[in-house]
């Protein structure tokens, strides 16, 4: 893993798992319960040594191993939600939002940036599941649209790492229209002959599956990820039956023809780069500042 530069900061801020382990130095696998040191776990790209379980991680972690030396320039880092509907359920959306910003240190559920991947200029967008379930509202849609604009302008391949429960209810129809907005942008990217790689990670459901996540020139999944349109609970209630083992996993989607292949996190960068090498004419890329 010569190309992987460990992100020290990413390790120390993962407080969520620390609580379960003594002194905050150990990670207990959610699937097999085997314990490893937080450092080893991070070095293994947050994948369990024992069972291969791919832990949910944020854009920061994906960027650390997808971009060369983990180096990138972030786009639209400061963009935040404007609560156009003044939405309020049991809580005000603005309060929920502020609290999430404070808790996560993030501004919304997607981070976008550009940098190099095995020497090739690329644009990557990756979602943050711990930001209101990785839900897609106006900010997510707009940041993805802007990232695609950058890809279009400089003829750079676009890579989208999805991880989302779907549309953000508190932005109602605004969030629904982000499906149309991002898809229209991808149509422009497609017409320009620029490659688009969609990476589906655990979980990818709802409106995200019904838009950009399923529209890649290639769609690839991490092992064991939950991927679907309707959530398993809704389906179970609708059909009144238990769901078969392995339903809506990456492996299930591969079998039914909706993924091109499944890739372990450690091979993700190399596989994407190999694909891009075959389809993307690098001489068309223009340097960006």
């Amino acid at each position: 893993m010569g190309w992987f530069v460990r992100n020290k900061e990413g390790i120390t801020t993962k407080t969520e798992d620390k609580k379960e382990t003594p002194e905050g130095l150990w990670y207990k696998c959610k699937k097999c319960k085997v314990i490893s040191s937080v450092e080893d776990h991070a070095e293994n790209l947050w994948v369990c040594h024992n069972c291969g379980f791919h832990e949910r991680v944020n854009a920061k972690e994906y960027f650390s191993f997808l971009f060369d030396e983990g180096k990138f320039t972030e786009l639209n880092a400061k963009m935040t939600s404007a609560d156009p509907l003044k939405f309020e359920d049991k809580k005000k959306y603005t309060e929920r939002y502020q609290a999430t910003v404070k808790k996560t240190g993030l501004n919304d559920a997607v981070t976008t940036g550009y940098g190099k991947m095995e020497g090739r200029d690329v644009v990557i967008a990756a979602m943050n599941f711990n930001f209101i379930g990785g839900s897609m509202g106006s900010v997510v849609g707009e940041k993805i649209a802007k990232a695609i604009d950058h890809a279009l302008k400089y003829h750079k391949p676009f890579i989208m790492v999805s991880k989302s429960g779907g549309a953000r209810m508190m932005e109602a129809a605004f969030s629904l229209m982000q499906l149309a907005k991002t898809s229209a942008k991808l149509a422009q990217l497609g017409d320009a002959g620029i490659p688009y790689v969609s990476v589906l990670t655990d979980p990818t459901t709802g409106g995200v599956t019904a838009s950009y996540a399923m529209l890649g020139d290639i769609n690839i999944g991490e092992p064991g990820a939950l991927i679907g349109f309707a959530g398993p609970r809704v389906i179970k209630e609708t059909i009144g039956k238990d769901l078969p083992e392995g339903f809506q996993t990456s492996e299930f989607l591969l079998e039914h023809g909706f993924l091109d292949f499944i890739v372990e996190r450690k091979d993700m960068k190399a596989k994407i780069a190999a694909f891009l090498k075959m389809v993307h004419n690098e001489d068309k890329s223009k340097a960006s500042k």
Binding site: M79, L85, D89, A145, A172, L179, I239, H256
Partner: protein, 316 residues
């Protein structure tokens, strides 16, 4: 005719009129004056009720059991000059999604829409207007045909959502909807979308990307139904009225937020009180819009369509 809870006063007056007429028949007493007064009262009561509908009441009207559904619109607006087409050429024919060629006045048009059933048996047959992936793929096949022959597409949207089923997932419900949204954004022919009943989430948007997106007056369009929103955000089914308000899902709110292009008035009391009148209104609106869109060159039409959706969203 079924009456919704807030329509009770209307039903009462109608019952009184009925009784007065009966009495007149039995006893030869002249009730003309009473009936006339009751009819006046009916008119003003109707106006008052429908003038001030809240979001939840609009949702109820959009689901009124006597409300006309897609095929009724198409049959009436084309005066029966409609050739229904079936199948996605892949898996099967989805009965929840209908479509085909029809004459709208002198205009040949590709009609597509979700279809709900008119009685218990037909509701099952139409899967309550919840399409499977093959429904969306059938819709896309028909849109591509319209593009090939350079004819406008009209979609009539009325769905409680795309079907959340086991087979639907196996056959790629998400991919089917995503593909339609993608392809509709760049289809080289005019598209007009009209919400005629329920516009629920991705299931609606899967045939809902157009140059003109219009809503009938008593319909709703959002990312989730008020009931599901209530159950998720309030963790109870009892907050559907509040959820309906919070979602800003009425035609008026959607237009105010610039998420649709226009509202089409319904006859007083809703489309179901005067379906013929409703069909006529929609037909005229569609013809007007088609005429406008036909004047726009294709290479301008698509960037304009895409640009409209790209502007949707508010951020800081």
């Amino acid at each position: 005719m079924d009456y919704l809870d807030f329509e009770e006063p209307i039903k009462e007056i109608l019952d009184q009129i009925e009784k007065a007429k009966e009495l007149e028949g039995e006893s030869q007493v002249n009730m003309a004056k009473t009936i006339k007064e009751l009819e006046k009262k009916l008119e003003s009561t109707r106006k008052n009720i429908y003038k001030n509908l809240n979001a939840w009441q609009r949702v109820q009207l959009s689901r009124h059991p006597q409300r006309p559904y897609t095929l009724a619109y198409i049959e009436a607006m084309t005066d029966g000059q409609f050739i229904e087409l079936h199948g996605d050429r892949n898996v099967k024919d989805d009965k929840a999604m209908v479509g085909g060629w029809g004459m709208l006045g002198d205009e040949p048009v590709m009609f597509i829409g979700q279809q709900k059933g008119v009685n218990t048996k037909m509701r099952q047959y139409r899967n309550f207007g919840m399409a499977n992936p093959e429904g969306y793929r059938k819709a896309l096949r028909l849109m591509k045909m319209a593009e090939k022959f350079n004819r406008p597409v009209v979609t009539l949207i009325d769905t409680p959502g795309a079907f959340p089923g086991l087979e639907a997932e196996e056959r790629g419900q998400g991919e089917a909807i995503a593909r339609n949204i993608y392809e509709m954004s760049k289809l080289k022919t005019p598209i007009i979308c009209v919400i005629i009943g329920e516009g629920a989430s991705g299931g609606a948007l899967g045939i809902g990307v157009g140059d003109k997106v219009l809503m009938l007056e008593n319909t709703w369009y959002s990312v989730i139904s008020p009931e599901s929103c209530s159950s998720i955000l309030w963790r109870s089914w009892d907050y559907k009225e509040q959820a309906a308000e919070a979602l800003k899902l009425t035609a008026e709110d959607m237009l105010k937020n610039k998420l649709i292009d226009g509202i089409i008035k319904e006859p007083l009391g809703g489309a179901h009180t005067d379906p013929k009148g409703m069909f006529e209104i929609l037909k005229n609106e569609l013809l007007k819009n088609i005429e406008q869109l036909k004047k726009v060159e294709t290479d301008k039409l698509i960037p304009k369509r895409m640009g409209k959706f790209e502007k949707m969203g508010v951020t800081n």
